[in-house]
Amino acid sequence: MAEKKQRMTDHQVLVRHRGRIAQIPIYLGKQLRMFVYQSDWKVIPMSALIAGLVGMVIRKRMFINMEGSLMGAFALACVGIWNGCFNSIQVICRERDVIKRMHRSGMHITSYVFAHMVYQAMLCLLQTLITLHVTRITGIQYPAEGLFTRWFLVDFGISMFLITYASDMMALWISTIAKNSTTAMTIMPFVLIFQLVFSGGMLALPEWSKPLTMLTVSNPGLKVIAAQTDYNHKPVVTVWNAIKKMKDSEIGGTITVGDVLDKLSDTKNKNVRALREIEIGNVLADAEQAAGEMELAEALELVGALESAGVLESAEALELAEALESAEALELVGALESAGAATEANTMQTEGTAATEANTMQAEETAATEADTVQAEGTAVKTADSSPAAVSGSVTIGDLIDLARNSEEMAEFRNQGITLKTTVGKLIDFVGKKAVKKTLQEKLAAGSYNPDYEYTKPNIMIYWSRLLLFVILFAALATITLEFIDKDKR
């Protein structure tokens, strides 16, 4: 026994072979040679081609608006995943026999995998640089300043590199599982589909499947790029663009005066209350004067106030504005007048401009609205059996509304329907293009806010860490799997 031990010790002292660290340069050198001899270099121009294609699609949207930024983030994450996967999906399975032989000749699997990690990192770095350069050439407007460094491209490059590298390590692991290239390339599409579907950003996923997104490289990849595009502070343009495309579409509907008055009588709403308390003075002393003062602009202002106060929905506000603008104001005045508030003009049967005359309410082509046709159905107040009710002192809008709402004589008027018919474009022009666009973009942007895409240092760091964890995890899995390579035959 002692003799045997002595022999063993002698052997160990006399012959010392390369350890794990010393073996790494052997395989690294081999892989670098393979880069040249085995056409591994092809992945470099391929990455440029992919970046070019994607860049052409996203260049005018990324970093500019919310949708473009998210789409660009998804596309660039896919570029990274694609590059990474195809770098290493075949590298181990194609030389499985060689690895087996080297393993029994003293090769350490850890050294071999680490050499691959170093080599693949170089490859990924090169691809990242190419991707950034090509996408810049295609016209993507990268910001100048980064969050972590002075150069945004460096920050962004780190993200792209980590996505590519994590995918690369994932494919390396698959390559250790697959016994040959055919199997590896069969598995590959499923992995890519899984990555795309469960990225968690582009497709709406059911609640139960959300944890699966934690298993994908695409999830932190998409989020980190979306965050770096400052997604949350970009405008939303899709809806506005869709509306613009619909500018010639006709829209219309019917509303009654009573509906409008009901809205304006909701005293629970503080904004309505405030509106109602506005004094308009003794304007009704003279019907002509009242009509003149009840200018369209004033009515529209009220509607705008109601809308911004949240009393009315946008569509309702628009309808109301048109109604007021075209006829109701006049009718209201007419009604008030007929109810005795005014001293003159029993019956208003006038045609023509809104301010002065209106009997049959067919206000066509009013200047202010530019609405195509506003056809107020029904008749205006035909008669006004006046029981003079003198208005003394100050009158509020609320008084007027209540009067119009409660007067029995105006019942017919309240039921009067007004058919609105116009186009989307003209309606927008009426409200104000800039205002509509701004409101839409602001409200939709607020609705699309996603804390995951917040452009903050901690957020970015979390995603980088997750990607780095994937790198380590997959490399460890590749090592463990490859340690069982000698069991292949069984």
Partner: protein, 454 residues
């Protein structure tokens, strides 16, 4: 409780309907008898999933049986999950999506299960020597009990092939012995080499005891599946067996990390990077195999020496994939030769080589053996170079499908022992009858054990 019983009944019989239960019981009864007829214990018919595997064994389709068993298990699990999800409908959000997922998985597995059912029952039909039209009855759960009951209970239906009980055979062929350890040479005392596959322990090699002195060139003979590669892997410590392997007095197993450089193993296929140059391939091998204290200059010198020995100098800058078959073999050997190992093992180094080239190669190996190294060679065409060998190891697959030592000794003595005049005839003698051999493996194994150990 009632629900639980219902679930168990549904799971075991596939339904709770009395008719279905009765049909299923008939199926189990028939299966019990079929297993018994084939030499398998009947109660396996009652064990879910295992019965599929045992049935496949009876059908002489063991590999399919594993997949059949696994698919059956997975399919049942998918159905089980589906039932649970179904029961909790309304409690889980998006339950419909989840149901669809498991439904898709379940249906896919069910389809695979059907394919394996067809395969296994086809095998059973062949084993019973029946017409293929029986298979139609095996395709639905409502009719499958008919063939099973008929084959199981009708006496005229008998299997032509039975599952063998290898344990009994193995016990009847047991031999014992040991080889004395050589200070300079290779000593193998292998009790057994086993693997566990699908819950079954398989003995690949058993009772191999031999000592090979230094400088001997040994031929390793044996039919297909006799365990030659397993034996080599056990000897060089790559796949450890229940054995003691000593090379020049050092234990191959306990000192494997150091002893692995003392063994040069040349695999059957080249296993080299085709896109690398000859020089770089050898230089990498030298870096891996030579000790740390060897300088870069010394490594290059050694590579140059070896290239000269094996005639690779003219192609040193060529890519490996561009070399001829003979050159590749020589490169493969020279990769192992770099570290000057004490034990050289070559797995069919002459495959793909013509007679002249093969002869040249074996002469080179003889020269290596003459320098005091042990060279073990596996070849399927030994007679053209038999004069170059000192000894022969004959491995034979016995009735229990285990690789056994049928001979180790000199070439001429082997011919006398087997009463054959060539190595190829010796292989034929120990090969199984279904492999075209004489089926005398058991006889020679016992005879050799008797001669060797008494």
């Amino acid at each position: 409780m009632q629900v639980l019983i219902g679930d168990v009944v549904r799971f075991y019989f596939g339904s709770t309907a009395p008719v279905d239960i009765v049909l299923r019981i008939l199926f189990f009864a028939g299966l019990w008898r079929i297993l018994q007829k084939s030499g398998v214990k009947g109660w396996w018919a009652l064990v879910p999933w295992a019965r599929e595997y045992q049935l496949a064994r009876c059908a002489h389709r063991e590999p399919e049986g594993r997949a059949y068993c696994i698919t059956s298990f997975a399919s049942d699990i998918a159905v089980l999950i589906l039932a649970v999800v179904e029961r909790q409908r309304g409690q889980i959000e998006d339950v419909d999506t989840l149901t669809i997922v498991f439904l898709v998985i379940g249906v896919s597995l069910e389809l695979v299960w059907i394919v394996f059912t067809i395969r296994v029952f086809s095998g059973l039909i062949q084993v019973y020597g029946l017409r293929k039209r029986w298979l139609w009855l095996c395709l639905t759960s409502y009719t499958i009990w008919i063939p099973v009951v008929v084959w199981g209970f009708v006496k005229s239906y008998q299997p032509r092939w039975k599952v063998e009980d290898l344990r009994e055979l193995m016990e009847s062929l047991a031999t014992h012995g040991s080889a004395s350890v050589l200070d300079q040479g290779l000593t193998v005392n292998l009790k057994d080499r086993t693997v566990t596959e699908f819950f079954q322990k398989k003995v690949l090699l058993k009772d191999i005891h031999l000592s090979i002195p230094q400088g001997h060139m040994v031929l390793l003979l044996g039919g297909s599946g006799a365990g030659k590669t397993t034996f080599i892997n056990a000897v060089n410590g790559y796949e450890k067996a229940n054995a003691e392997v000593m090379l020049n007095g050092a234990d191959m197993y306990t000192q494997y990390k150091h002893m692995q450089y003392e063994v040069g193993f040349v695999p059957q296929s080249e296993m080299m990077q085709g896109k690398d140059t000859v020089w770089n391939t050898l230089l990498d091998s030298a870096s891996l195999r030579l000790p740390m204290d060897v300088t870069a200059e010394q490594r290059k010198k050694r590579v140059t020496e070896v290239m000269e020995i094996f005639g690779l100098e003219p192609v040193k800058n060529n890519l490996v994939e561009k070399l001829s078959g003979g050159q590749k073999k020589r490169l493969s050997i020279s990769m192992e030769f770099l570290s000057n190992p004490s034990l050289f093992i070559l797995d069919e180094p002459d495959s793909g080589l013509d007679g002249v080239m093969a002869r040249e190669l074996f002469e080179q190996l003889r020269k290596i053996a003459d320098t005091g190294k042990i060279v073990i060679v596996i070849t399927h065409t030994p007679d053209r170079v038999i004069d170059l060998f000192d000894d022969v190891i004959v491995l034979a697959k016995d009735s229990a499908r285990t690789g056994r030592l049928a001979w180790y000794g000199g070439i001429e003595d082997a011919k006398k022992f087997f009463q054959r005049d060539s190595m190829e005839k010796i292989v034929k003698a120990v090969n199984r009858k279904e492999e075209g051999g004489d089926g005398l493996a058991d006889e020679y194994v016992l005879k050799y054990a008797e001669v060797q150990y008494g």
